[in-house]
Assembly symmetry: C2
Homo-oligomer: 561 residues x 2
């Protein structure tokens, strides 16, 4: 076989020199610390991230006042404040101040001007959504949350539950004058059982804090995502976050064993079970997983955490077609089986743009239409390496992959991951990005990227110079989860581009029975589009649930369904 | 280290000779084929299985007419038929006959005597529950299920959804004259995607059929249990079955990706998603997983299936204390990590009774207070063996285990599994068994067995001769899932024993925040005891859901919550 020696050679001399590609390590800073730059926000439902926070947690480009962010009520003029909700008064504020005691627990913008202090809670980190809230509450206990909600419900005050405020669909910031209930002060780890691996923690514990705590106990949080330095585990559960470990450890619907939540009427749902098995009645907590704070506030979670793996390997390949990527995925499932922990897809265009924007050398010398990144993690380094070697020999000998490299140490692991994780940041290099987070059948996944590119190209919108708004149309994502990130890097946001994108993308996804929101949720951004992924019957049944739990509609209004 | 050579020796000469212990392979036959023997049923909520089906699917002991089984309405005199439900008429039957067309789809005991034909659908395989139904319907499509339910709802006819009728808590048989809706004719596999491993199948597909289908595709159903030859996957999902693969593959709440179900008013909930990720609204299907047919009938499921493992190893140990069992579990999680697929606990008494009842030689020569069985399954035989060898050396050198054997081939694997899987059958050897299926924190799990044994012993109920009703009090179960099977083999059912057991066992479990039903569900058997595992608030919230979906209460009445 001709291919095999070439690969073996690549394995011996990893072509990217150490330090050339530094691992992109996004650590989103808490809302309070994000600096903003001005933007002319897009009006599509696509997630727009003209500048992502950089590795240091800041944002590139010039700093601008938070007030430069457009109000959501202006971006969505069809949204009107629901007149059934009461206006906040000083009496309301006084009640909360007495209830919560501590001065730092209440940011009062009702009886005085506190807009600077409240702004970080009013706006999201993407600078796309901004509310008019005048009151932020930071309860310290489940009982306080209960009393807050009961009072709000009795007095028809609308509320927005808020965790780390790192969401991508505007779900965690107010639209009008909703009271922000921020969970950052409920941040205790309640218990950890080293035999069962079951962790119980307050909703406001930061994901990275939980994961670091578990690392000391040789366990791992079964969820990882870029915002781990800021996001709260309660928010993760409320949005059913997906992220990087889903392929291996499965979804939160399987891993979350119990939830403590407060319902709008103040009822504490004490379902903080620490058992793997408990078949005694309806599994109500599941409604709160992905419920986006619309039927209650999660105050604590109980979660099953796996043992931390001792060994890790990462390989990066070039492939000649999307069909070959699918074959590689099948082969990886077969050969790597229980140690496969990531199978990521990047098209050639993302890698070319990465090179163009950073000037850094890519791991493979030749260009390929597609690239895949595979990670294994297991308990035995030698075994994992051997499995990976067998897999590599197979995919090279059968010419499933054209070329590839295997990381030899931690530095190289980071370099290879940077080729995947660096994409979101780099796509903002030219201006803005239209981003769609989609689930599609694996076989069809990449065809959408081609169709969108053809469509925009035919409309004369794609090109290499300033006269064309669109730089390129690219695709990458969690192939192992059939989760595609369709991204359209642009020089400027453009109505014509938006007209070409929507509803085209959603109709395409609907045609393949896909999901218009794989892991980001609905929030405000996708609320209007749920019909592309759910039938009228399903939406009707969901509204029943909303009405059952929140008959006054005070929980996170104007969003979700 | 003294222990190490001894173990190495055991490894070389596996002490049980081939064929001595045949693997217990329970294959419960469908309801229609079960032969019954007479019994004086226990009246506790414990699952009583005086005779389990044997390996050939029959039941030992003399055959008796099904009519020998006591009616549930007699065993539970406090249950009264709800007078709001209509009585079945010939007009009703005529409607169903016209709707379903085929003669075999309706068993009509209303216009004629069909009690012999209906009896297998009226009674459960444990011979503990028996209803008075006069009508069995076997729809062939989701639309037929929809029309049946709408008609029943409009006419206030109570119904019982029925799968393979292999449940352990009386959930799948009627109490009074409920219409049985049996799903056996909806038995098509709808689709399978070899890349993603996602299977879509009708609810009435038998678990073993689904697993065999997947085996041909090199995949595995992420659930396995003794009744696999009869139980339906729809019933598995409706009862959130646990079984043997949960430790490795997790619960159905994580693996089921979509459900098609029919609500009492005939609405078809079309949530048959085939995506791993879909964050578009409340995850309503979760309510049907473990809902035991009380809010709708599952007609199809979409489920994520893993790759089938190529390699399997099984080891069996003797340990000197329950504390050592916990240490062994921790060591297994550490050393075997991703290939650990079962960690089962058996106390010494179960193994002694196994030997006593069968006369067969046990794998280890000496007696030990506790035994554990470990199974690994992975993609590489050599790697798994080496991991297991490392684990064995560790647990022997540190004297966590006292002795052990490792299976060398498939026959020996079966022999070792027989020491665990043979227990339920063998415990019925002396007459009957009081069985409890409990979740408890691992650290406390076995203490309950000791406490119950002490309690019954102090009451003078345990002994070696006929004057004592209780033979012994034993514990075994899925230690990896913290799921204990507390079993009390008896010579006869005895009121005094029952008085000692209940509510003592439930109060004990409640004191440890355990679950009174880990994997068997509530049905009739545990309905009255949910308060030991769920708060009043939770039960109230569950009843809200029941009322929301089934306001007329026609679905599986008299059961669950």
């Amino acid at each position: 076989m001709a291919a095999s020696p070439k690969f073996a050679l690549s394995l011996r001399r990893l072509s990217c020199s150490p330090g050339v590609v530094a691992r992109y390590a996004p650590r989103y800073t808490p809302a309070a610390q994000v600096r903003w730059n001005t933007s002319n926000s897009a009006t599509t439902s696509a997630t727009t991230e003209p500048r992502q926070p950089d590795a240091e947690g800041g944002v590139k480009g010039k700093t601008a006042a938070a007030k430069a962010i457009k109000f959501t009520s202006d971006s969505y003029p069809e949204l009107q404040r629901d007149s059934k909700f009461s206006q906040l008064t000083q009496d309301h504020v006084k009640y909360f101040q007495e209830l919560l005691g501590s001065e730092s627990a209440v940011i009062d913008g009702v009886s005085k001007d506190a807009s600077e202090d409240i702004e970080p809670f009013n706006a999201d980190w993407m600078r796309k959504y901004r509310g008019h809230s005048q009151l932020v509450l930071k309860p310290k206990s489940t009982e306080e949350v209960s009393k807050i909600l009961k009072y709000c419900n009795d007095n028809l005050l609308a509320v927005v539950p808020q965790g780390g405020n790192t969401g991508l669909v505007g779900g965690s910031v107010p639209v009008f004058d909703e009271v922000v209930i921020n969970m950052q002060r409920m941040n205790n780890i309640r218990s950890f059982d080293e035999v069962s691996g079951i962790l119980v923690a307050d909703a406001g514990v930061i994901l990275e804090v939980a994961d670091n705590f578990l690392a000391e106990k040789n366990h791992i949080f079964p969820l990882d995502l870029g915002a781990k330095g800021s996001c709260h585990i309660g928010g993760n559960v409320a949005t059913n976050a997906g992220g990087l470990r889903l392929l291996r450890y499965g979804s939160l619907h399987g891993n979350v064993l119990g939830i403590e939540a407060v319902l709008p009427d103040g009822t504490i749902m004490d379902d903080l079970c620490t058992l793997r098995k408990n078949n005694t009645g309806y599994d109500l907590k599941q409604l709160f997983i992905g419920g986006e704070g619309t039927i209650g506030i999660i105050t604590a979670v109980s979660i099953l955490t796996p043992q931390r793996s001792q060994a890790m390997n990462v390989a990066y390949f070039g492939l000649e077609s999307y069909e070959k990527c699918q074959e590689a995925f099948r082969a990886a499932k077969g050969h790597l089986s229980e140690v496969l922990s990531a199978f990521e897809l990047m098209d050639g265009r993302t890698q070319k743009l990465l090179h163009k924007a950073t000037g850094k050398k890519l791991p493979l010398e030749d260009e390929h239409p597609f690239y895949c990144l595979i990670e294994t993690s297991g308990s035995n380094t030698d075994h994992d390496s051997e499995k990976l070697q067998n897999f590599l020999e197979h995919v090279m000998e059968t010419e499933i992959v054209s070329d590839g490299v295997l990381a030899q140490d931690q530095t190289q692991i980071k370099e290879l991951w940077a080729c995947r994780e660096g994409i979101p940041e780099i796509l903002g290099h030219w201006g803005g990005v239209y981003k769609y987070d989609l689930s599609l059948p694996i076989a069809d996944m990449y065809a959408l990227v081609n169709d969108v590119r053809d469509r925009l190209t035919e409309a004369g919108l794609v090109g290499d110079d300033e006269s064309h708004p669109v730089v390129d149309v690219v695709g990458y994502g969690h192939m192992g989860d059939a989760n595609l990130h369709l991204n359209i890097p642009t020089r400027r946001f453009d109505k014509e581009v938006e007209k070409q994108l929507e509803p085209f993308v959603y109709e395409w996804v609907q045609g393949k029975s896909g999901s218009i929101s794989a892991e980001h949720g609905l929030g405000i951004a996708k609320k209007a589009f749920i019909g592309y992924s759910r039938s009228e019957t399903m939406v009707k049944l969901m509204k029943q649930i909303k009405n059952l739990y929140d008959p006054n509609g005070i929980m996170n209004p104007y969003k979700y369904i």
